[in-house]
Amino acid sequence: MDQASSSKAAGPGLALPSKLAKISGVLVSLTLTFLGLTAITFVISRVMPVDPVLAIVGDRASNEVYQQVYLQLGLDKPIYIQYLRYLGQLAEGDLGTSIMTAQPVIEDIKRFFPATLELATIATLLGIFVGVPMGVFAAVHQGRWPDHIVRVVALLGYSAPIFWLGLVALLVFYAKLGWVAGPGRLDVFYDGIIEPVSGILMLDAALARDWDIFYNALSHLILPASILGTFALAYIARMTRSFMLDQLSQEYILTARVKGIPESQVIWRHAFRNVLVQLITIIGLTYASLLEGSVLTETVFSWPGIGQYITNSLFNNDMNAVLGGTIVVGACFVGINMLSDLLYRLVDPRIR
């Protein structure tokens, strides 16, 4: 309150510094959160029952070799030095080497990440394009049957275990009806034909103008994306509904109606515009949680994304890969959350 009135008193000249203050505030919390994340993965990598030296030299190495690697890894140094060293390695993009693939973890992640990105992006888009109209529709018809249907659908989307939903969808749409392609990103037949440019198959296929592959990729993608998107849809529909209800009960809506403005304009031009700002945050949150939540969907649909990479590595005791994946997904999650928070703060003039 104080801040708001003082900046008003000082006039518009202060607008820029206050924006800078917002940005720096978000940056500080971003840095702290990221440090927290790395601290946790660091602790996990120290606590785990695998001896990092033995993992490198093998158990038949002589004592001297063991000692040498022990010193090389800096395990004789105090713990905070080790942590700083770990941070330094992270900054250089060094996540260690995967035992399973015998490649640097960062290279593996570069290979697996586009698949997850593709899946989560399409799922979020589905959630937005279906969820937002559903929410608006429900709010406009509050208390009547369209509202009840939307609420029930949203609740079911919230409550259903996503991996089970995926299995049921595979059973119905792939095995029984044959409407879509099965697990994986492409039919085996098409594998490796297209030169990966972005790693996002549909984009690459479109660039190469190979429409057979494009449709095949689409047919593989549509089911997992819809399943992953149900959660996004439920959440977005529910929040849109509640934001819209808030706006529709405001007095300016009454004014607009009294002035004789058509109802569709009142809804979309007046109320929805004000909801849009709040929706940014919600969509950001959803996107971040889908990047993370795709782990289960990827397992069900054998989707070669980062979630499956982490799960497989976990079962092979490949801790570098698990922690590397955790850091990358965690960083994306934290980054997107902070970004949407920042956008919200910058766009909404009411927040100071």
């Binding site: 927290g36 991996f163 509640s242 209800l245 955790t326």
Partner: protein
């Protein structure tokens, strides 16, 4: 006078005569509010059903759900086996019933770990304020910003797969919202007169926190816990499905889906039925949580 003699009259009397009466009245009025919301009542019925089924499991089931019966494997649902049998010939209905105990065990355990941590952190931060508050809330915010499932997976990777470890991993990633809520409540009561009175009487800070501040924060925390239960159940089932939670032959629902996965196409009931059980229970908690939130905090209802 006649009004006073009925239970309802006693519960709705304008001036309560005892602490016990006042407390009962608060519950009763909350219940009247809650009862008006049919959706919430359905949620309550589902959860009570879950508890009932878990308690009566030995009398409802015909087997312990663990003993293989290979002669009768993968049988379709029938009068003898309502939900069919699984790949080892175990009755799926019995396994679902026994599994309800595991689900309750998971949510109870997570609740027991998470609520005290959240209360302690939140109440201390909110009541003491200043530097303590800043530091504690920073830590809370850091945990709040983490991706839950991935972090739980990383924790399980260190601790090793298993039901208790999965619970611990979930608890480590879910306590933060409770600390935030407890802090917000503690902030509102911190400057009340009864707190001042307690301070003047020389009650120690620890005494004020445990006996005066914490109990007032509890109801919001419990409501939030109910709302989070569905998420906890889904995460636990997800970890079970990935093979990181309860291990076979435990009839945990997520693990049952995972084991039944390969029979999806020809024996659809094996992986499908446990999923319905998860859906129903998680729906129940969501409905109940929504209803409780409307009773305790009508403004935030969505």
């Amino acid at each position: 006078m006649a009004e006073q003699l009925t239970l309802r009259g006693w519960l709705l009397a304008e001036v309560p005569r005892s602490k016990w009466q006042a407390r009962s009245q608060r519950f009763y009025i909350g219940w009247l509010e809650f009862r008006r919301n049919p959706v919430a009542v359905i949620g309550l019925i589902i959860i009570l059903g879950l508890v009932g089924v878990a308690a009566l499991a030995p009398w409802i089931t015909g087997s312990d759900g663990l003993e293989p019966d290979l002669v009768n494997r993968l049988q379709a649902p029938s009068a003898a086996h309502w939900f069919g049998t699984d790949q080892l010939g175990r009755d799926i209905f019995d396994r679902i019933i026994w599994g309800s105990r595991i689900t309750l065990y998971i949510v109870a355990l997570v609740g027991i770990i998470v609520v005290p941590i959240g209360l302690v952190v939140g109440v201390i931060a909110g009541y003491l304020g200043g530097l303590v508050d800043s530091v504690l809330m920073r830590v809370t915010d850091i945990f709040l910003a983490f991706p839950r499932l991935i972090l739980a997976m990383a924790f399980v990777a260190v601790l090793g797969p298993g039901l208790e470890n999965a619970v611990l991993a979930i608890a480590l990633t879910t306590w933060s919202p409770f600390a935030r809520i407890a802090r917000a409540e503690a902030l509102t009561v911190r400057n009340s007169e009864f707190i001042l009175a307690a301070q003047v009487q020389g009650v120690s800070t620890a005494g004020i926190l445990t006996r005066h501040v914490a109990p007032l924060c509890l109801s919001s925390v419990i409501v939030r816990l109910t709302l989070d239960m569905a998420g906890i159940i889904l995460t636990a089932a997800g970890l079970g499905f990935l093979g990181l939670g309860a291990q076979p032959p435990t009839p945990e629902w997520g693990a049952m889906i995972s084991l039944g996965r390969q029979y999806l196409i020809d024996q659809w009931w094996v992986p499908t039925v446990p999923g319905i059980a998860i859906l129903v229970v998680s729906l129940g908690f969501n409905l109940l949580g929504d209803g409780l939130r409307d009773v305790f905090d009508p403004k935030s209802g969505g």
